[in-house]
Each structure stands twice: as C-alpha cells, then as structure tokens.
Symmetry: D2
Subunit: 508 residues, 4 copies
Amino acid sequence: SHGSRSVFLSSGNSCQIQFADQKQEFNKRPTKISRRSLSRSISQSSTDSYGSAASYTDSSDDETSPRDKQQKNSKGNADFCIKNIKQADFGRREIEIAEQEMPALMALRKRAQGEKPLAGAKIVGCTHITAQTAVLMETLSALGAQCRWAACNIYSTQNEVAAALAEGGFSVFAWKGESEDDFWWCIDRCVNVEGWQPNMILDDGGDLTHWIYKKYPSMFKKIKGIVEESVTGVHRLYQLSKAGKLCVPAMNVNDSVTKQKFDNLYCCRESILDGLKRTTDVMFGGKQVVVCGYGEVGKGCCAALKAMGSIVYVTEIDPICALQACMDGFRLVKLNEVIRQVDIVITCTGNKNVVVREYMDRMKNGCIVCNMGHSNTEIDVASLRTPELTWERVRSQVDHVIWPDGKRIVLLAEGRLLNLSCSTVPTFVLSITATTQALALIELYNAPEGRYKQDVYLLPKKMDEYVASLHLPTFDAHLTELSDEQAKYLGLNKNGPFKPNYYRSAAA
Amino acid sequence: SHGSRSVFLSSGNSCQIQFADQKQEFNKRPTKISRRSLSRSISQSSTDSYGSAASYTDSSDDETSPRDKQQKNSKGNADFCIKNIKQADFGRREIEIAEQEMPALMALRKRAQGEKPLAGAKIVGCTHITAQTAVLMETLSALGAQCRWAACNIYSTQNEVAAALAEGGFSVFAWKGESEDDFWWCIDRCVNVEGWQPNMILDDGGDLTHWIYKKYPSMFKKIKGIVEESVTGVHRLYQLSKAGKLCVPAMNVNDSVTKQKFDNLYCCRESILDGLKRTTDVMFGGKQVVVCGYGEVGKGCCAALKAMGSIVYVTEIDPICALQACMDGFRLVKLNEVIRQVDIVITCTGNKNVVVREYMDRMKNGCIVCNMGHSNTEIDVASLRTPELTWERVRSQVDHVIWPDGKRIVLLAEGRLLNLSCSTVPTFVLSITATTQALALIELYNAPEGRYKQDVYLLPKKMDEYVASLHLPTFDAHLTELSDEQAKYLGLNKNGPFKPNYYRSAAA
Amino acid sequence: SHGSRSVFLSSGNSCQIQFADQKQEFNKRPTKISRRSLSRSISQSSTDSYGSAASYTDSSDDETSPRDKQQKNSKGNADFCIKNIKQADFGRREIEIAEQEMPALMALRKRAQGEKPLAGAKIVGCTHITAQTAVLMETLSALGAQCRWAACNIYSTQNEVAAALAEGGFSVFAWKGESEDDFWWCIDRCVNVEGWQPNMILDDGGDLTHWIYKKYPSMFKKIKGIVEESVTGVHRLYQLSKAGKLCVPAMNVNDSVTKQKFDNLYCCRESILDGLKRTTDVMFGGKQVVVCGYGEVGKGCCAALKAMGSIVYVTEIDPICALQACMDGFRLVKLNEVIRQVDIVITCTGNKNVVVREYMDRMKNGCIVCNMGHSNTEIDVASLRTPELTWERVRSQVDHVIWPDGKRIVLLAEGRLLNLSCSTVPTFVLSITATTQALALIELYNAPEGRYKQDVYLLPKKMDEYVASLHLPTFDAHLTELSDEQAKYLGLNKNGPFKPNYYRSAAA
Amino acid sequence: SHGSRSVFLSSGNSCQIQFADQKQEFNKRPTKISRRSLSRSISQSSTDSYGSAASYTDSSDDETSPRDKQQKNSKGNADFCIKNIKQADFGRREIEIAEQEMPALMALRKRAQGEKPLAGAKIVGCTHITAQTAVLMETLSALGAQCRWAACNIYSTQNEVAAALAEGGFSVFAWKGESEDDFWWCIDRCVNVEGWQPNMILDDGGDLTHWIYKKYPSMFKKIKGIVEESVTGVHRLYQLSKAGKLCVPAMNVNDSVTKQKFDNLYCCRESILDGLKRTTDVMFGGKQVVVCGYGEVGKGCCAALKAMGSIVYVTEIDPICALQACMDGFRLVKLNEVIRQVDIVITCTGNKNVVVREYMDRMKNGCIVCNMGHSNTEIDVASLRTPELTWERVRSQVDHVIWPDGKRIVLLAEGRLLNLSCSTVPTFVLSITATTQALALIELYNAPEGRYKQDVYLLPKKMDEYVASLHLPTFDAHLTELSDEQAKYLGLNKNGPFKPNYYRSAAA
C-alpha cells in the first residue's frame, strides 16, 4: 500500500548513483563499470514495453554503430545520431497514431498558435524516446522551444521514432541497445554543442542533470529550472537541495494528483489483465488470486480481477487500507493462509521479500507469481536460483520454475514490474505525464523572478487541475462552472484551484 | 465533491450560533429566540433516522413534561431526567442489538479489564442519545470513567435507551421532543451539580462547550480536554483557537481518515439505495440518474446505482474529480444537458443552489429529487414554494410538487439529507465514530503534560489506525505484520503508524 | 436453482385445494374449514408487501363488516362491497402514482383509443387488489371491457384503492382482512349477478376458476378463455387438462420470458438489499454471506450483495449452475463449511430443509437468516420452536431466536419470502405482469376460432416480445429494425418473433 | 443476439460444402477448386489464435513438403506425416502446460485406470491439432482407444504438438500450411489404412465424415457413431438426417449448455479486452463503446467493458434482449444515434451488414471497429475497398482505413472474429469442449443397442452436468448433495439430471 509509483519507476529507496563515486568517461569502452549505475534504466523499464511496432524494425541486422555512421535527413541536416534515418516514415506513422491518444498536447499546440509560451526556451531533454515523447517534443517545439534530446534508457528507444524526429529537424542522440559509453556520449552530445546553451532541463532519472553538474556546472547560470519525472530523479534532487547544492528551481512532476491516479490506479486496473493474458493466456473466471498490498495499485488489480470473476484475497499491513479492502468485499488474509490454494499471486506493496521461498515451496502446481509493485524485490527471486530447482524459459518473460517433485510455478518477468515488462503503458497515461511535463516547463520558464527559489516544488494545484481539464474533451466531458454566487459561497475562485495545495490523491 | 461530511452534519459554512449574541436563559420559556440557533439540531438530523424502534414507544400519550415528573430507577437513584423509566427493558434490548455491530467498543471493554485507562475521568457528554451512544457510554464507564450526558438534538433521543441508561445508573438528561429551554436546562443539569466537576468534555456540535464557556468558565481549570465530533463544533473550536480563547486541548475527531471513509463513501453507498427505496419503492434497473458532485459521497452513490443497473451521469466543477468520473465509466455532463431525461437527481456537492427552479421546471414527470450532500441548500427548495405549484405530502418525507400542467416531481425530505432523514445510519458506521471518540478521550486524558497545548488537534495517525484495527475482527480479517527486516527497509515502526500524519483519505 | 418463481407465489408442489374434497359454503360462518385451503393466500403474500400507504388507513377502527354496510359512490352506484368509499380520493392518488411506473398499460390505452380490442368483453377477475391492479382494470375498461373483481388474498387488498375503483364505477368486492367466508362470498358476488355473464376469466391462484367450475359450470359455454398468473393456478389448470376437464382455452402467463426475468432476477437483485435493510439496518460492506441456490433468484441476490462489498459464498446441487457461480467469482461451498463464519444466510433453492436446526445451532451470534426462495420450507423454522430456545419479536417481521448460552440468530419473516414480507415489489415488475395479462386477454378474446383448443398455452413468443417492447420507452430505449435484406438473411419476420417459441429465459 | 456460437465457428447459414457437387481428388494439385469450399477453415480460424509459442518454430525455413519427407519417431514408427519430428520435445512442453488447465480430462484418465470405457474403440478424428487436442487424444488413448488424426484446418496445426504426438505413437497427418490437396490427402491417410478400420468418428466441420461418405461408405457398417463439434458440421448432419441418409447415430456436442456458456459468455468476457489490447493498446477507461447485439457474446463484452470504466451503448432488434440491456444499465440506442461519438464499435449479432459504409463514413477519427460475432459479414468490409480510401497495415491484424480528409478508422482482423484472430481461446474453454467430446464418444460407444437411432442427438443433460462437475475441482468448488428426502420433494434423482432435457442455457 505504499502508494505512489511512477510508470517509469526507479529503484526506490536505494538510489545507487552517487555523485561522489562516479567517474564515467564516455570516450573509453566501459570495462568494469558496474551496470548498477544504470540500474534504473535497465531493470525497471523492459524493452518489451515499447510496443510491438518497434520490434518490426529490429530485424535489420545492420551492426554498424550509429556513432560510426554518416547520416543526413532529407534537408541535409546531420546534427543527430540515430540508428537509421530511413525508418523515418514508419516512425512518423507511429507518432501520428500516438497523437490520437494525446489530445491534451494537441490542444496545447492549438492554443499556442498565437502566443508562444516557450519562445526562446532551449530545452535539453533526457527521457525514454518513444512515439509519445515525440509528440511531447513536437509540442514543445510548436510552443516556441528548441530541443535537443537523449535517451534515459539504453534499451527503450524506438529507433524509427528517433528517425522521424531527426528527419523533422530535432537533434536526437539515441538508439536501442546503446552501450553505457554510448549512453553518456549521447547525453554529452546534447549538451556540449557549439553556440547553443540550454536554459531548461527535462530529465527522467537525473542522469542528464547529474552530467551537467559534473561536467558543465557553469551552464546552470542560464538555466531557469529543472523538470524531473522519476522517483529516483526526485530523490536525487531532494538530496541536492538538502545539501544546499541545488542551484536552480526544480519541479517534481511525479507527485501530481492526476499523474499519480493514472500511473497507479487506472493504468494497473487494465495492465494487470493485459500482462497476465499476454504471458499466460490464463482464464480469470473462477481463479483464486491473492493481491499483496491494497494501495492504489492493489486497488486497481483487485477491482479488475473481481470484475472478471476471480475470487480475490488481500494482504495488508496497514489497518486502514485493510479495512478498506474488507468494505470493498475482499477477504483480508495472511499470505500463509491462502498460499496453498491460490492460482495467482500478485505483489504490489513497495516492500521487499513479500513472497519468499517458503511460500513458493507451498504454492500449488501451476501457480502464477508476478509483481506489480514498487521494486523487483517484492518476490524473492534470488531464493529460487538454487540447484534443486530447474528454470525453464517457456516464452518471453515467462519462466517455469520446477521443483524436484515436478511442481511448477510460473514466474513472470523474473519478478520485475509486470505491466512494464509484459504489457504496454497506454498512450493516454503517458499523455497525462507528458502534459504535466509541458506545463511544468511553461510554468518554470515564465514564472516571475522570485516565485521559485532554489528548491524542489510540486506542480501547483491549479496546473494539476489544468492537466486534467485538458484531457476531458477526449471523453466529450463537460465541466460545470461555478456561478459567482456559488464561488463566493464556497470561498473559491471560479477558475480554481478547487482543492487546497496539500490535497493529495488516493487513500492508498 | 467538497468532500468530508459528518454523518450528523452541521449547517456547514454558516455557523449561526455566535458566542457574543447569545443570551439563552433556560428558566424562562423561549419567546422570540429564533429556532435558527438550533438549526444544526433541527434541520440536519431528522428524527426519522433514529430507527423504527423508537417509534414504538412514541404512542405513549403521556403529555407531562419529564421535568415535572418524579422518577427513580430500581436502585432508588433519581439523578436523571428522561421520558419514562419503565421503558428501560425495551431500551436494554436495543442496546444489546447495537452491541453486536460495535465490536471495537466491546473489545476495548475486554482489554480494559485489567487497566482502567479512564479511571478518575469525569466526562460530561452532549451527543445524540441512541443505542449506539449507550454502548459508548457503557464502554467509557467500563474503562473507569464517570459520565453525565445530555442530548445534542431536541428530536433525536431514543427515549427507551435513555431509560435503560438511567436504570443502569447513568445521569442522563434527555428526551425526544425537548423545547429549546429544555435543551439548555438538560445541559445545565449535566454540568451544574453539587460535588462533581467534569474533567473531560465530549461534544457534538459545540453547544455543551459553549455553555460551559458562558456559564462556568472556571471549570476549564480542571478540564483536560475536549473531544468534538461535528463539522460545526470543530469550526467553532478553530474560531476560539484563532481568537486565543481556547484554554484546553481539543481533538477534532471528525477528520480522521477511517471515520471520513465510513461517514461518506461506505455509508452513502448503501444509504442512497435504502433512502430511495423506503421513500419511493423505485426500481433502479434502467433508470437514468444524475449525480451532482463526484467527491466521496458522490462516488458512493454512483457506484451503488451503477451496480443496480442504473445509467448514471455526473456533474463536477473540479477537473480532477471530473476525470475520475470519466475513468470510472460515467458520462460527465452539465446538468442542463440531461435534466429533461433523467429519472432521479441526487445532489452531493456541498455547494448551494445546484438544482434551481429553472432545472426543476424542465424535469420530466415523476422525476425524483433528493440531496445526499453537505447542506440542505443544494436544492433550491424555497423556489418551489410559489403559488402556482401545489405540494402534496404523499408519504412521510415524500412530497409531490405539482406543476399547473399536472407534472409532478417527487421531492424527498424537503431537500434535507436523504440518508439521515429517510434511511438509517448503520450501527457499524456509528461504531467507527464512537470508537474514535473513546480513543480520543483516552489519549487526551492520559497524555503527558505538554504533549497537547491549547489548540485543536487531529487524531494521531496511530490511533486512527488503531480504530481501524479494532474493527477488523468483525470481518475475520487478519492483518499481516512486518518483519524486522521489512520494517527497516520501509523505515517504519512495526506497530505503525504506517502512513505519515499528513496522509488524508480520499481523492474527493 | 429451481428456477421460476411467481412474485405472488403459491405453495409450489403441494397444491392443497382439491376439487373433490372441497365443500365451501359461504353463507355459514366457517367453523372447522381448514385454513389450509387458503394457504396460498395466507402464507405467501404478506400484507406487509402492500406498501406504507395502505397502513395509513388501517387505523380506522370501524369494526363493522363491509357486508353489513350500505355504501354508494358519488354517482349513486352501489354494486360493490368494500371497506370505506370515503377513502376513494386517497386511493386515486395511489393509482396515479402507480400509473407513472406502468407505462406499457398507459400506452395500450392510447393505442386503443380508436379500436377497442376488448369491446364486448366481460371479464371477471380475482387477483390482489392493489394500485397496480387498478391500473390494469382501468386499462381493460379503456380497451372496451366490463370488469367485476374480487381479491385472491384475504389480507392483500388496499382498501383505499378498492374505494377508488368503486368510486370509478367498478364492481369490486374486497377488503383487507376478509374471513374465509367473506372470501368466497366476494367471489360469488362477482360471478353470480343478474343479467351479466362473464366471457373471460382472469385468475391468480385458481380459486375463481374453481368456484365457477363448482357452482356455475354452465357459464363456461360463453367463456372464451382463462388467463392464469400463478404457479398454483397453472398447476391446477394442467391437472384439469390432463383429466380432460378443461373446457376452454387457458393461457399460462406465469412462464413468459419477460415476466420470469423480472419476477426473479431483476426484482430480487433489488429486493434482497431492501428487505434486509428495512428489517435489520445491516451494513453490507465486508459481511460474509452464503446464498443457497444459484438460479435466477440466487444470481440476483449474489450480484447485488457483491456490488455492495459483501463476500458471498454459494451452495448448489446442480453442477452447471455451480460452475456458473464459480465463473461469476463466487466460492462454491457446502453449507457446513461456512456456517460458523457467515453473517447472513439466504435461501433461494425451491427445496425444503436447506437450513436445518443443526446448521442454526452452529451459526454465530447475530447471524441473519432469511428466505428468498420458492416456499417457506427452505428454512426449517419448525425446528426452532422448541422449549430451550426463546423467541423475541424485536420488530415487525424480525425475531430473535435465543439459545441457552445467549446466542441469537435473527430470523426474518419467520422464513417466508423476504421480498414479499419485508420489501415491496416494484411497480415496474408488476407492470410487466399486468401487461402480460392484458395481452393474453386480448389474444384469447380475439383469437380466430380454432387457434386455441381446450388446453393450456404459453403466451406466444411474439406477444412476449410485445410486452417487452411496450416497456422500452420508459428507458428511452430505441430498438433497431431489421432491413429486408437482414430479415431474409436471418430467416426472420421483421416484426418478430425473433426467437423460437421453445426459447426460454435464463440459465437458472 | 442470435445466440450460440462455436469457438471454432463455421460460416453459419451458408454451408458451401455440398455433398453432391464436390469432386475432390487428392492426388492432383487443386486447380480451379474454389477456396470457398474450405472457407470455414480459412476464414474463421486465424492462425494467430494458436499461440505465441507456435510461431517460435515457424522460422524453420525447411520448404520440403512433409509428404516428401521420411521421418520416424524414436521407436522407429513411421506411420504419421508431420512437419518435423525433432520438434517433439518442445511440443511435449506445450502439452504439459495445457494439461494444467484441462483438469477434467486428467480426472477422466485417473478414473479410467481400472475400467477402460473406450477399450476397443478405434477413433478417427479431424480437428484443430493443438496442445489441447493432444491432451484429448492422449486421454482417449488412456481410456483404451486407438486414434488416427488429421487437421480440420490447413493453417491451425501446431507443428511441434503434432511432432510430440507422433513421437508418442499417434498416427497424425497434419502440418501448418497444408494445401487443399494436402488437406484431403491427410484425411485419407487417416482412414484408408491396411488392417485398421475406425468404429468412431470425431469430427469438427464435417469434412472427415463427408470423405468417408464419399469414398468409403461401407465403413459405416462398423461405425458406432459420429461426434460433431461445429455449427457447420451439425448443420450438415441434420441435412443428412432429413434426407434419410444418416446411417449411424450422431451427437451434436456444439449445443450443450456448459459448452455454450463457455464459448460465448465467459470466453468473450475476457477475450474482448485481450483482443483489443493486443492489437491497439487502447485504454478502456472513459471510452465510449457501442456493442451491437445483446446475446451471450454481447453480454460478455458489455460486462467486461463496463467493469473497465467504459461507457457502453447497446443496439438490439429483439425487445426482450433489449429490455435486458436496459435493466443491466446500458443505454439502448440505434447505431446512427451514437456512431459519431463512439471510440469503439463491436459487432456480435450474427447478422450481416450491421456496420455499413454509411456508418463508417460518420465515425470519428481513430474509431476502432471489430467483430466478435457469428460471421465476418457483420462489418461490411467490402464497402471499404474503394479507390478513395487508403488502407494501411499498421500491425498484424490491424488496418488503418484512411478517408480523403485524413480521418482513420482502425479495423481489426479485417472484420473476422476478433477473439480468434487477435486473442487466444483460454485452454479452460477448450477443456470444456474436449471433455464434452470425450464423454459423447464414451456415451455413443457404450450405449446399449437401440438407445440411439440413426439420428442427431444432443448430449444427454446428465452428461452435460457431468462435464460441468468434472471442472469444479479446478475451483476447489464443493457441490451439495441432495438428501433422500429433498430429492423426493423435488422429484429428482440424487445424481441428476437436475434440469429437464429441454432446458437450454442463456437468455441470449
């Protein structure tokens, strides 16, 4: 029940990248540099989550490194580094499809036809490079900004989208399957450019911010602010702030109410079904399921499975969430009470070692085990890597772990986040995130001197509400406006904010 | 969507009882003192809400005022003033029934067999006097306290329960149908007694607190704290605090997470159906319903009606709540878009004039209109009291308002709270409240010097969680305990609190 | 799961009225005539089901038998016998309210303004006399028929409605609280009248049909047909038919698809909640409930309680229904597996002795026991009438049965049908029945010679569909019409029937 | 709403294979033989439905026809013809996985360890050859039967499963991608074998039955019966029967109650979500969806989408089904009322031209169109193949059809059955079918002389119930048994059947 969770989630409480002990050098091939320094990127965002489309193009067996290629777009521009500019058309189609589920950004573009709220903005970005990000970048551009971009994950780039962006004139440095050295090289190419200096940072994980801190600290003089999307990145910013080293305002967009609801409740309500189906084709009707944790993620999972005819049990540590589970019609149990009888075990606690070997020893044959929660430590997968157990990979992301007596459990995504590994994040969810990022950039860029200090801020409630309102037309939803008399009665401004700033989502 | 709502709700933003301008004197018959000064008691808590049982005894046509009667209980005690001590047996049965749905208080009694956490406590209380309150009082007594009690509402007393309490030795001063003068006389009899002085106050609405402030301010020297349950009472305490006049610690139990969820979401999910059925026998299947406001109350109403096969529309002013309604599968409309077609209109906004005459003019014949919200101003009932419209009372709490062309709308409870007027509040919901009150009294009474200052406090998160945990056994619900390792990983104490203090319920 | 159930249900398999052994004589006071001969009327349709309204007028302590009164309506007509003609205005209001939820009959009236499909029909009826029946009778009259009416139940007559009908010119013979002698006297007054002879019979239970068979067999020469609504009545007709004694066509309207769905699934889905709330005020959230039987009634109960947050278990004897329960998300158990832990036990099997003393001995304190099923033998109530158990009537229809150790179970309606005893049947459900009756009368009355023989018929599928279609406008529902090409493709007539005659509802 | 639908569905009303006009000869390459004669196999059962697993092995670019290969299994047996015997291990794993969701067959195996109810049976089968079929075949073998098998579809064979079967000693003749000539060659190899003659037929589509009729009519002398699973095959059997040409008993297993419920309601409730997600990644929350047809399939689709937060509209032609939609909380509309506003259109009517070009012209940009219904004619796909529209294949099974103004609609599976093309049929659903087939074989094989004539029979109700009961242990579901007294009261045998034979499922 430990609540909030970013769709592109970092490793949570244990932030391994420390400023002091990192000595990345991008010109050498990485030798013994620990992979852990990229653990956020590697472990939490499976490449599988970036769509069936991407895989179509990966059969290209061109093994030349993009860094060694000479490419130009159709206008002769060569200020980018991607896999293959020829995939631009295919990427453009993916972007167009994404646009259809990102109405808020499209609306922002239209509203900005007159004014250009980002005119003069020079944004350097480091995020997953997907069709949805492309829609964001092209929106920022339509609002007046110049953009340079790198990937925050070595696997997640959709090459054809990167191609479409490069063809459209964006300076993009990213491809699927970068090495660690490539990773930092790309970031550096974004930042370290003759005659151009960023004045805004959009980061996802904090690596870009870190790089500038380490290599080009003087750039911060011109930077108006940082917008950060991930739990890890936010954590690092708070550390900087605590240490008195944060030298520009930063906005934590991870914790906005709207984004939280979509990342957790609404997204997981659908992706739990999708993730299980794609991996196991299991029928939900009549199945007994135990969901560990009744926060927002757990609530979404439970509601969906109940609706599909499963019998759902819940475990909780917090009596308030536990009582909610009861009132919602779920039997509250301890895991050991039901472990022998359940068909599916789902963790979403944010805790570690929730499903330990002892429990797995007692599961019945065919039991499916997966994680929808905070980190990949909820299921003690390590405990399964012992000689007496046999692992059998039956499909992508699906392992059978086989006991000496022949019993199998079906482990999904090796205990990593199911919905990132085995499902897709709906574009609409990403639209909420991207819109929040765009508005945060606008706010920081245009804020009058003094509104924001060198600190970490939450998105103002009013902008949070604006993100929501921009998505209402998708549903043909019509908001009621307060009359003057009613606004006075309630003590509210007619245009909001309608809730106090401390108002948080979710009885997680 | 303006969220929180006490089950026994005060008049909200417009607190009419002001300290300065009140000159109640209880020895005279009230002459021109406005009824409005009791508006909380009169208008928001219909007598109908106190159960079918109460009505059994009301046929007693004994018209003598209790103040003029001489009554003793079977042990010869006469320190009480109630309707009729002979109803004690009947009242005892009602109390026993209530005990069965108040497991938490019964558990508290058991745990207190050894220690008496309220030993020495002298509590003066002013609440609705119902079977549930009796369970609370007898629990406080079992925990070591002495109690004297008056009613916070002139209509809500269950006479037979008051009789049972008097028979059991409690000094109770209350009956159904008090005059205003009686009301204050009863309160005074609780407080102004030879050789006994309260050291704790349990109040619901603030009238008792007010009385002591006005008449016996010196009593506060010995009073350790005030526990207040209602929105109005809490509002008055904050006013006192702001004015620097609060001279003891006070605890606002209205805003505890558990209580809020039950008062609003869980209670209304059931009582919307119950209230509509008891008054109109309407079939829900296929009916078109518009629910104004998608806070916790609105969410409960919508979920219940959807489950019964109604087609539900929602109106909202707050885009975040609006988007939630969309994601939960409700069409978001403006009231005027659907007003001609809906069969039922339900308000739960906390706002005023949400359903105005213009809308009611356009409703279809037979449309049912009712209020589940914050105050009785959501429906502009006054606008219906015009000469061209005919009112016809068809059942208790049900009026047909008839247009010149014969069209009728069905107005429930004259726009007052439906679930208090036409349904009952489940004992289990009241159990949550009563347990919260008991724990707040224990906390304030036992708190070490200095923990609480002369201010208004929320119930500590840990006690909020304790209220929830005391109710889990009812559901045979088993909480999971953190291992040491897990607690450390999460940075939590194994016994809670599990959420930070600022954590609030409900994405209202 | 034994399926179909009439809202006004007879005693099922054991039809006690036998033609041979009955010698009713209505001029004498009944002496030793067994009450059993009226068991249908007495035991299955509690007076409580006829609404709050009826009770208003029952306080009239006029003890004179209606048979001894002289009453005329305002036009001087005296051909009726009811409680009190002065209640006509109040009854008229009840009828007008009922009209609003009986749209199909109102539509039939409109369509019949030109043609009068029942012109010349002389209908004698014997049904419950309620506001809904009044709407039916006035519809039949608008369609051209003359009507004379008696009650099929000695308790169920709404006196004020009977008054309104009498005032409107109908010859009604019925009042609440008839003796058995009164009962037959009223029926006889309907039939045995100078210068008027019925040509159609509308019966509910078969008593009227029986009376004519016994007393006035020659009347059948002119009678075109019988429409029968109850299980018992239908059973008796089949017996007659088998014995070769049925001398006119009869139509079984009990088993029409539309009527079955509404009587069972849709009605019970709502009335289970209503019946439990009105009697016990129980909160559903988190409660453990076992529902015995997963036919249509059980499905309705389960769906409603699940939606309210209860945890529902199901028992079944039929593996097909059992598998459906599993797929719908309910644990399938034997009663003894859960009897100690459940809070509510609901029977809806059509079987007998489903809940026996042994189970009740093991229920936990406060367990609620009620019956939604076929007969009042599902719960072995007789086994509770033993000396060691104490019965305490706590409310109307609510008994506490108390074990020597103090344990109480809460028995509702003494095991009779909960939704008839403790809830109301929604007018809309009765509208389906009444419309079915009206259409059956029209069909039989207008059928060409030879279409129907001296046999028992089901309502033709096309008329069944017509009943449904007449109710669609209530929901503003728009039916799609087949194109000529589509009708040809499907091999259907564009106007239906759309399903074969053998098509039955419901996988009960 | 035209109800029943086989999971492997034939082309419905238009059965093109006629006995008279077919002159298949398998030794020649097909020249002008219309593909239509295999339309059942080709058009309704997409290869995509046979699992992700199958595709792994298809990359083998061995282009040699299996007919030209020499293969032996490890025991030297060569009486089979499949793609590649080396894939046996992989196939075995797929079979083992399937076994876990086919508990009923596994239970049958156990029960048959003593008796062998199929001892002596020589079964020739022609069905889809998948892991589930393998479990069926190995069960038949365990029950005593000898089996020879061909595929009923040229695309649906899982090659690795065929390999595992061949390795296990079964004479299997099938591979993925057969030509028409191959198809009949394989069937012939099953039947036409030296020294072995079938005495039972298990058919899916009627092609095997047809072949024997044409080529080896004398074989019917020894054949005890035919078990047929598909709508088409059943249709052909009824034609034979009508024509007096059916010379053995045949059992129609398509219309068993249990099978129907699973093929339609339970299967589609899950596969509508799965099919839409896998193809479009659409988010369901808040989406407006219109479902055409409210039979079992429509009911399943509607329930699932409502639960996911979609707003669902329904169209119907049958007023009874229409009224059910209303009572279940769906607005009943004509397609043209909502076609401009909906995000998703789903057909499940069994009708043709339900979604015509005119409607598609008015859909909004991005609208998704798919078919869950009886045939691929529900959406008039042909009308989209006009010059002004551009088709763009964006993913497997997903086409964008683009209007001149840029509007796109998203057409899934070219209007073929979504859940067969873009989802998987859960093994549990196939388990119901396979168990039904096995029991029908046992019944026919063991029936005493004279029980079955040369006619088409439905599965006896008792065996239908037995299929259900064999699946209950999966859910740890415990059936209640009638006492002697209860059985007598209900007039039932304690072991069933519990419903009459005419009892059909589903208020489709």
